[in-house]
Symmetry: C2
Subunit: 607 residues, 2 copies
Amino acid sequence: MNILNKKIELIINSEKGKDIIRVKSGGNLFNVLIDKGIFIDSPCNGKGICGKCKVKVIKGLKKPTPLDIKQLAKEELESGFRLSCNFTINEDTEIVLLEKNKDMKVLINGTEQQYTLDTVVKKKYLVIEKPSINDQRDDYRRLSDACESDDLLIDLQYLPQISNLLRETDFNVTASLYKNRLLHLENGNCLQQNYGLAVDIGTTTIVIYLLNLNDGKVIDIDSRVNNQRSYGADVVSRINFTIENPKGLGILKDNIVSQLNDMIELLCKKNNISEDNIYDIVIVGNTIMIHLLLGLPCENITRSPYIPVVTKALELEAKEIGIKTKGMVSLLPGISAFVGSDITAGILSCGMLNSEKYSLLLDLGTNGEIALGNKNEVVTCSTAAGPAFEGTNIKHGIGAVKGAISKVDLSRDKIYETIGNEKPCGICGSGVLDAVAQFVKFGILDEAGRMAGADEVENKDYQNRIVEVDNMRQFILVQNSIHEESITFTQKDVREVQLAKAAVCAGIKILLKEKNINFNEIEKVYIGGGFGNYMDIESSVDIGMIPKELKGKIESVGNCAGGGAKTYLLSKQIRENAADIINKTTYIELSKRKDFQEYFIDSMILD
Amino acid sequence: MNILNKKIELIINSEKGKDIIRVKSGGNLFNVLIDKGIFIDSPCNGKGICGKCKVKVIKGLKKPTPLDIKQLAKEELESGFRLSCNFTINEDTEIVLLEKNKDMKVLINGTEQQYTLDTVVKKKYLVIEKPSINDQRDDYRRLSDACESDDLLIDLQYLPQISNLLRETDFNVTASLYKNRLLHLENGNCLQQNYGLAVDIGTTTIVIYLLNLNDGKVIDIDSRVNNQRSYGADVVSRINFTIENPKGLGILKDNIVSQLNDMIELLCKKNNISEDNIYDIVIVGNTIMIHLLLGLPCENITRSPYIPVVTKALELEAKEIGIKTKGMVSLLPGISAFVGSDITAGILSCGMLNSEKYSLLLDLGTNGEIALGNKNEVVTCSTAAGPAFEGTNIKHGIGAVKGAISKVDLSRDKIYETIGNEKPCGICGSGVLDAVAQFVKFGILDEAGRMAGADEVENKDYQNRIVEVDNMRQFILVQNSIHEESITFTQKDVREVQLAKAAVCAGIKILLKEKNINFNEIEKVYIGGGFGNYMDIESSVDIGMIPKELKGKIESVGNCAGGGAKTYLLSKQIRENAADIINKTTYIELSKRKDFQEYFIDSMILD
């Protein structure tokens, strides 16, 4: 027997009790837990960066790896804590999951929100009375009666098949219903095959969660770079493509639809699931991504007064969009042109709605969407933060890929860290933030953001690193990168960061002013989105992006948009909550507020 | 000025008061009345056959024509009554419409049923507040608010257009709604352009009524032979075509859909109406015609226990079926495989539901559908009458076309009449019925239906007319037809009629037995369908098709299926009534009833 395929025992102790599962030898502990639907906090999604996926190993403990040593405190290591994402199971193992303390309440998977598993999709196994000369009900009626539905809806495209389906199966079928709509008739008892997808379409990344609708567990996750990137990295360039090219809108729509179809096909193949058993696909995304998915024109979004075609929750047949499943697509409601359904999902899942006290949710990217709310009301805005946090208008900026500089610390010998400890190839958003914070701390930048000349600093190393090229000062972070050129951070890069952080900070202040509350009244600051996973909270406060008064309240909530999509898929109650959020949410258009300009200018300083 | 184009005055006195309209000189009075939406009883639809369209002319009276003299009594002629279908208006004219007496209550147009004009389609002219930085509602929401709808439904195929439509029209639009569904957005105030169709798809004929949904008036009517006839004259041969030919169902579906599209296009062109303004199309037909229209397999209908795919009322987007209008298609509910939505429409419009007393409705064709009911309940059956009444399995049988022998009277010199007084080319259903009745009356047939030999009759003329060809006796009706051969009526033809009439008579008796009522309790016998227009009521009783006890109660109601479709188009209340009929209607399957066989055999005799 190949030792790698040997089945071994994993015992999991949690708040809920003890679970014993059989696993293959050689498996990664984090993946095993996720596969089994046991959710574990991991804003970095198992990349070894966030350190949050630690578990206490009480049987089968191994020596700490360098990553364990880096991410965990000495006492933790001694108590048997290890990073689950860095732990290979190759013998019988017993672990204890962390008690969910307050700081861990909101998980990347968003499933800690209270809800009852109650999907819109219902499967029913039906043994139907056969027709006879004494019971001549037509097939439609017979099926409606069996489903106990007065108003069963059968699509005209599906209707021609039902008579044969009923007879071929000897009137023994499983019917899948979405509300009163018949999605699928199968031969015999197929109650087990009941799946749904939660999809987060980001401008940069698409994440699809495959869920079992019978138990609400995540079966698999796939994430990819959004193929639309070849038509522009940011939403503005994609919208321009649709305006400048008469067929542009169709091209972008086809692009995302075919990528979704490809991803769904692969997820199904990998998990041995039929696409016909995917009954509901919940999709979230910013308003532009949703418009492009639906083939809706975006030009009115980009010019004042910024009007989308639609933001409301939609329920569509997958085939209407071009998605090749038999089921439905449910789109979460968005809030405005620049506060999309991804933010609605984040609000749903971050925990803001659980408390009487106000919390903030920040989703930072090209736009910084900010929501301030409690269980009774939410107020949102969107700041044009620019793509600095996504690394795109920074000279050596790149996305959060392997080799991206994600941390900068001038107090160390090696002043940077890269994702995956690879050779540095550029700097991503969190590194950008760190760099500016560190430059201020070590006197390389003054309050106004002016970079010192080499002759103005005392530290020898900095003197060597500060150079002037084409009349622009820049700081050399890495002398020899794999691209055979230095990675630098320029004066212009600093200005970009100042603009971005000032926009976010001013947005926060406007929302607080709008609700007339002060920093003390804020319970939590949730940082959502991919950037939040890597962002150094201290740096974000140091450069004044997040007001200092909020420092102790900041918490990363990972992909809260995906988490919200999952709960929306699993719970009718959450759908009602979402509709309710929209009703109690106000959007503040910053471009018309003079006080925003004032806050913005005030927030430019680096202190 | 051309005298034919001179506008003259027509004054119409009716129960509702006096109407004065301007008409062109040279117009046909019947057509003018129909065009103006003034409905007038005419089972024969203006063909000069039924005599029911008579009006009293009090100004502009003309000498009676031969047709007036034939159809109207001497006293009527002297009082100024004339057939409107035979009256040309070429001077100022004043008429009095008949008071609607009981016998005239049910009109071909079916609109005398009580209902309030209240269509499902609503048009709204909207002057919508324009977006601004202080009112950033998305276009969908803005439109929903303007329509005062919480759940406005906009098809994903239409949604991409609405933003441009709103801006091109400066937010000044007319919205057409079907329930909560947006069908159409138009520039400015287009409330006047609001049309619907009532469609009766018969096995033989398709009739389309174009109606103005604002006033409920019929604008135009088109009727054509159903093009599917090239795939078989009767439903059974068409079903066989769908079974034997793998693409047969698709071919027949495409055939009817494209014929409907052609007819709709022509009606629109002729009346200068845009197809985009046809918002609702109500369709009735027998269950097979509806299955073929929807592309539904029919094989289970033809074999016991005779199960259709669907009989319920359906509301579909026209484009789902393939019909090229922006609007909806509403299908009336049917009752069973052999009692279709045309019968539901007939029940709705014939008047049966107005009374506590029971009435019968007969629709005679290949199948004789029979309904017995009152305002509380309806019981129906379908008898396999065979195509004798449609002339198709009769040696010289033809449909009710020009030149068809529609009446036979052996007491006259010229023993037959043809439709349109054209040269005889065959015999249609009403002629067939007359022939058998006359043969019995004049001793050419005995009670058992045996045709006498030439040597067995005394009348010289009959001796010449009765011949024997290929061992089959036949009676020569016309010696030289335009087809250069004689038109005869054979012993086999007699047998066909006996089978058909026995089936109908037995069906009537079963329904009465089922409800345990006797002939005295029957208030009316409504004869629907095209055949009813021509059928000689006396003959139908003489041959025992309709029991003699019902003789004085028989009334032709013309195209009551089309009439029902029209009211269904115009009134939400009538739609509810239709749903209600279905709930209170029972279908009796005759094939399982032994007593039917007994009644059937009893009813074979001709007496």
